[in-house]
């Protein structure tokens, strides 16, 4: 059970980080 939780937590963190990359990229395109 713990193994599943920690594995999912790891995947969730890196998914969040990839979303952060997209957010930073979008911010560059945003008009001031």
């Amino acid at each position: 059970m713990s193994d599943a939780i920690f594995t999912i937590a790891t995947a969730a963190f890196f998914a969040l980080a990839i979303l952060y990359v997209r957010a930073c990229e979008k911010l560059r395109g945003a008009k001031r």
Binding site: S2, D3, I5, F6, T7, A9, T10, A11, F13, F14, A17, I18, Y20, V21, R22, C24, E25, L27, R28, R32
Partner: protein, 590 residues
Amino acid sequence: MTANGCFQILFYLLVIFLATKPVGLFMARVFNREKTLLDPVLRPVEKLIYRLTGIDEQREMRWTEYTVAMLLFSGVSMTLLYLIERTQKWLPFNPQSLPNVEPGLAWGTAASFTTNTNWQAYVPESTMSYFTQMAGLAYHNFVSAAVGIVLAIVVIRGIARRETEELGNFWVDTTRCLLWILLPVCLAGSLVLVSQGVIQNFKPYTAVALLEPQTVQVSGADGKTTKQQITQQVIAQGPVASQEVIKELGTNGGGFFNANSAHPFENPTPFANFFELVLIFAIPSGLTYTLGRMTGSQRHGWAVWAAMAFLFLAAVTATYWAEAKGNPLLTATDQRASALQSGGNMEGKETRFGIANSALFATATTDASCGAVNSMHDSYTPLGGMVPLINIMLGEVVFGGVGAGLYGVFVFVVLAVFIAGLMVGRTPEYLGKKIESYDVKMAMLAVLILTFTILGFSALAVVKPFGIAGISNPGPHGLSQILYAYVSSTGNNGSAFAGINANTLWYNTSTGIAQLLGRFFMIIPIMAIAGNLAKKKTVPESAGTFPVTGGLFATLLVSTIVIVGALTFFPALSLGPILEHLLMAAGKVF
């Protein structure tokens, strides 16, 4: 402080200075794909790797693709390390039959080694099998260091290139970094360490009879203490040299043994100690030269180096002074340095290293994001222990971690030229690139994620029982222990005020999250700046351009680093080490 001690510190800085150009030049050649002496041997290996993995070495990536590739690589590597730790009982090279690592510790350790932190909430020799140490931890020592270096190279390319979105290929850069830089140096370096007495074997641990049996008190589970006679000592063995060299060169810091570089099998001689110190700064210092070389402004590279060297000297002087002065409350003890003793505060330090080499190691390891220790920072005087803490709080940009130091200082360079631009009322420029609002926003995101993570987790830990339960000293020193844990984790350093018991579910998971945020959520906005800079045109220098090559720039850079650090962390420091120092002066210790 002795003349001998001061000479050793200055000699160390001189060696680092002399190594900067050759190391930096070599790295520039490797990442520019120019010819090197190692090409006849390594180029066929490189080509074979690309053929087997289907990598097109000519294809370059945008910053987003490069960053996502790095994140996926790190995520998969972290999961693999977790699995190795959780299954080590059934894997080979486990002569001590060590059990699987429990889930919370395994996850915290996986996060720690993936992020180049190497925070260790466990005793390695009684927790990790040889297989886990080699295939799990040492593997991460190599790849996390390579990731840091290639990201720094991307930042340099972002500054140097113009009107392009292409910043290199993550897989190619990482492969070249491992093949040309890390593996050859580690191969040679581990032999140097073996020559000094660092062990390298797969033997089971050795049991030896004590010459003088010891009687110790042992607390049972019921709380009762009983006397027990110890007649035997178990001496841990293992493949130490191969892990030791990358531990320092990659500024990883995770020891094969719990005592880290204070252990005679990891750091047996004065030369081994000096060699390890040089390894810690070799690549970070060299990268300043690489920066100058690849951007075409060698003087800028040296200006950054000078700012770093100034901060290093200030920190090592403060630590050495504080430790050499000793504890003022020990009035009946002779704490003066003499031919017979190091003098000063020797608690937690190796007699063979003395004050100067302990202070030097503590400073270098926290200036860089290494975290290896040859003395116990928890036992330093309040001010002496505050310096390593501040070094990490400043973002570990004083030479810094491999790659991390350079991309960390890049954030401060952006802020420094932005401030200079504000002063004269012009759009700031950096090596011909205009620094605009997007760049400054991203730089601030990188700074704020560190602050938010460190102070947020520390605040939570000091008010909750699960946080306070880990500290071993009450009062301001306890706060310092907690603060150090989150500063070290978020800064990806890995050293500790080791009195704290961090092997709990709270500390394993919270420090793991801090490490991941401090590494990846800092990197992403920095990569965004690099991508943005690469797209820009260069503008010619004019009379209004702030020069980033001289003493004025170096001074402004140092000021920016110190002011941002001071404004952010002074309140926390005043409640921790500063208060502890004042109370010590008033006669109270913790």
